[in-house]
């Protein structure tokens, strides 16, 4: 339910104050400043509260059920969330599917899915990567065979975050045709309850099972679930990759890692040493300069100057910075390193090994750092292609 007041009518300060106090009243304080995204039931509870009180979907147009805030106001919205240390929820529905439906979806698709996204009735996951199509996404092989007014899907997706917690997947399948491998790909929405779908969680180095393999065996979905034209899925899907990159630019995870670095230095009695100070000085400047760039890029975006390359550079820099901080933390731990647990008896109140492992994929998923550099060399630096 949308609240009846129009958030757009308020002035900036009034908007900020009201949003700030709403956050403080509604966001569970024990969940502040988290290291990971909010997922599962916790995410839904938080998003439904926003929806209930008319704070959900700041950027979505009013006619689509959102607040329709202009970009500067959206920045205020996000600033207040960051200030309070609110976890970013895993919300593929709003962040990925809604923009795509607005741009490429049919009237019927928008009317059916958008309200369900806003109310968190549907939980979405992504079906892009495949065992042999990772960094080289366009190499995907999962097939979609058209039979009458249905698409019959066979194949396998992998690295799908929390497929186990979702009921809907947006995915890319190869329907054939075209000569370049980017052609003949179709973007389709698939209910995970469809017969023939099997989900297997993948245990990771961090000891978790958030990532999944999803197997498709003669899975039949109506052609009405195709978004955009058959065979034009690469255009649709690539637009989403653009959206996704935005989320990596913010240095909040890094600030958390900095805290762990400091805590570890304190636990090891090294917080006053030159070694720690010099290391921390470097990282703090890295983080703050990165934040300055992020802020400037966001403000430039307000003025319509979106620089995709700047975001890619931030993502790359932040990902590797995060790893450097975590690696230094492990190094500071010295002989207390390599313990797969907290160790309060040694003063270590964080599980350093978990942090080390959970930060491995930041330079892998969404295009490895190597692939990111290839792209930036050509797009941002205009160097000839390899």
């Amino acid at each position: 339910m949308m609240a009846s007041i129009d958030r757009r009518a308020m002035d900036d300060d009034g908007f900020r104050a009201e949003w700030r106090s709403w956050i403080a009243a509604n966001y569970p304080s024990e969940m502040r400043n988290p290291l990971e995204k909010l997922t599962g039931e916790e995410a839904r509870t938080w998003l439904r509260a926003q929806f209930r009180d008319g704070w959900r979907a700041p950027g979505l147009p009013v006619e689509a059920g959102g607040l329709g805030l202009p970009l500067p106001r959206q920045l205020i919205y996000q600033e207040e969330l960051d200030r309070y240390g609110v976890a970013r929820p895993l919300d593929h529905g709003l962040r990925m599917v809604a923009p795509i439906l607005l741009r490429y979806g049919s009237q019927a698709q928008r009317e059916h899915y958008l309200p369900r996204i806003l109310a968190c009735e549907d939980v979405w996951c992504q079906g892009y990567s495949e065992p042999n199509a990772g960094s080289d996404l366009a190499g995907l092989k999962t097939s979609g065979r058209i039979e009458g007014d249905c698409l019959v899907i066979n194949g396998q997706k992998i690295w799908t975050t929390l497929a186990t917690d979702a009921n809907m997947m947006y995915m890319l399948v190869r329907t054939g045709g075209g000569t370049r491998k980017q052609e003949g790909i179709t973007f389709v929405l698939v209910p995970l309850s469809t017969p023939g779908i099997r989900i297997r969680p993948i245990r990771t180095l961090a000891g978790e099972e958030h990532l999944c393999e999803v197997f498709f065996d003669e899975v039949v979905v109506p052609l009405a679930n195709v978004v955009g034209e058959i065979g034009q899925g690469w255009t649709v899907g690539k637009a989403l990759l653009g959206f996704e990159r935005w989320s990596h630019g913010s240095p909040e995870l890094i600030r958390y890692a900095l805290k762990v670095l400091r805590q570890t230095a304190e636990a090891m009695g090294m917080a006053q040493t030159e070694r720690y100070c010099e290391m921390a000085d470097r990282y703090i400047c890295d983080v703050d300069d990165s934040a300055a760039l992020y802020e400037q890029v966001c403000r430039a975006a307000v003025h319509g100057k979106v620089a995709e390359e700047d975001f890619s550079m931030l993502k790359l820099f932040n990902a590797e910075l995060l790893q450097r901080i975590v690696e230094s933390t492990m190094d500071l731990a010295g002989q207390c390193g390599g313990i797969a647990d907290v160790a309060p008896e040694l003063g270590l109140t964080h599980d350093l090994e978990w942090l080390y492992m959970i930060t491995r994929p930041v330079t892998i998923f969404g295009g490895t750092s190597q692939v990111q550099r290839n792209l930036l060399a050509v797009r941002a630096l205009h160097l000839p292609k390899d």
């Binding site: 100070c277 790359l316 930036l376 000839p384």
Partner: protein, 377 residues
């Protein structure tokens, strides 16, 4: 990031026009011959552009512009690896004059307006110290004038200048004196900087000056020196920024055209990746400089502004050197030859990174200022 004002755009264009026509690259070859590359004629011609008096208030004959305008110019000077001491011998004296100036400053303001004379500023009390308060250099009253004793470090263009502004302790307070070059008791040990400029150790041994040599006295001197130093750091960061950018562009262009093994070397992944890292550092440097400029203008002299400046100077120093170093490497053998311009950018960056403190010093400063802010809070 504030949008650029008209004057900024104008300055940038005219600096580009002027430097591309007036500044002769060959002059920089002096750097490789172990010669001072400063040029009095060039100095006068930039004075004619009004650039030396940019930061001087209109009441003192200057243009009364902001630090961001000097930043535009410093960036342009960096892009051409100009060795002339714009920051040390124009910005710093201008800021001092703006805060302390009155009739007796005419010699200095005049020099800034017409470029006929060069004023260097001797204020650092130790080789690695950036505190503006004079402590070790001492002035004592003697007869109708003063006698000065002490040492001043890192004096850019100290031997090239016609006169030195010297800070000293007088009656327990900071004071600023003007000493003509060649004054008795003034000993200058000058070294060539890798940028083609010079930097000197200035020793004062029983240097006697008349009463009118004292230009200012009291805590206001330290305050003015601090503001001048802060702006100088920021302008130097921008100069490094321009230097890194131009050197990097030169390198990218070389990578796009140079062929080895039948391919453009810029298509080799390993060079591409090294280049991307330099590109990222440049983006961070620009961001840090912009943030510092905003804060320096909004609240000059505050801890907040000084922190932002420290961050900018730290990042710009490291980026300037990295970009130059990468440039030389990516150029291959020709990058080691004096005839290629890229080496000038590495050499220039080494000196400017050192000037007023480099990466480690400013990162430490960044933390110490935060601690200070916390104590004050």
């Amino acid at each position: 990031m504030t949008e650029r004002d008209e004057i900024e755009v104008l300055l940038e264009n005219s600096a580009e026009d002027f430097l591309s026509s007036e500044f002769r690259d060959e002059r920089l070859r002096n750097v490789y011959l172990g010669r001072n590359a400063y040029d009095r004629g060039f100095w006068r011609s930039i004075a004619q552009q009004g650039w030396l008096a940019l930061r001087l208030p209109e009441t003192l004959g200057g243009s009364g512009l902001q630090v961001r305008h000097v930043g535009i110019l410093a960036n342009a000077f960096g892009r051409r690896a100009v060795p002339e001491p714009l920051v040390a011998c124009s910005l710093i004296p201008a800021v001092l004059a703006a805060h302390l100036g009155n009739g007796r400053w005419q010699e200095i303001t005049g020099a800034l307006v017409d470029g006929g004379r060069v004023i260097a500023v001797a204020w650092q009390e130790a080789p690695q110290r950036l505190d503006a308060e004079p402590l070790l250099t001492v002035a004592a009253r003697a007869g109708g004038g003063y006698v000065l004793n002490g040492s001043k470090y890192g004096v850019v263009a100290g031997g090239w200048a016609d006169a030195l502004l010297v800070s000293a302790r007088l009656d327990g307070e900071a004071a600023l004196f003007l000493l003509p070059a060649g004054s008795a008791g003034l000993e200058i040990t000058e070294r060539l900087g890798s940028d083609g400029g010079t930097v000197a150790l200035v020793k004062l041994e029983q240097a006697c000056v008349p009463a009118q040599a004292l230009l200012a006295h009291g805590s206001v001197v330290t305050e003015a020196l601090e503001l001048a130093r802060d702006e100088a750091m920021l302008a130097t960061a921008l100069q490094l920024c321009g230097m890194a950018a131009a050197g990097f562009e030169l390198t990218l262009e070389y990578m796009r055209t140079r062929v080895q093994f039948g391919r453009h070397i810029g298509s080799f992944q390993s060079l591409q990746h090294l280049a991307v890292d330099i590109g990222i550092q440049q983006a961070l440097t620009r961001a840090a400089c912009r943030a510092a400029m905003d804060r320096c203008e909004a609240a000059p002299g505050t801890i907040d502004a000084r922190r932002a400046i420290a961050a900018a100077k730290a990042r710009a120093s490291d980026t300037g050197i990295s970009a130059g170093r990468f440039g030389v490497q990516a150029h291959g053998a020709i990058g080691f030859a004096a005839e290629a311009s890229i080496g000038l950018y590495l050499k220039g960056a080494l000196r400017l990174a050192a000037y007023l403190g480099g990466g480690s010093q400013h990162r430490r400063q960044y933390r110490q200022l935060a601690d200070l802010a916390q104590e004050n809070a």
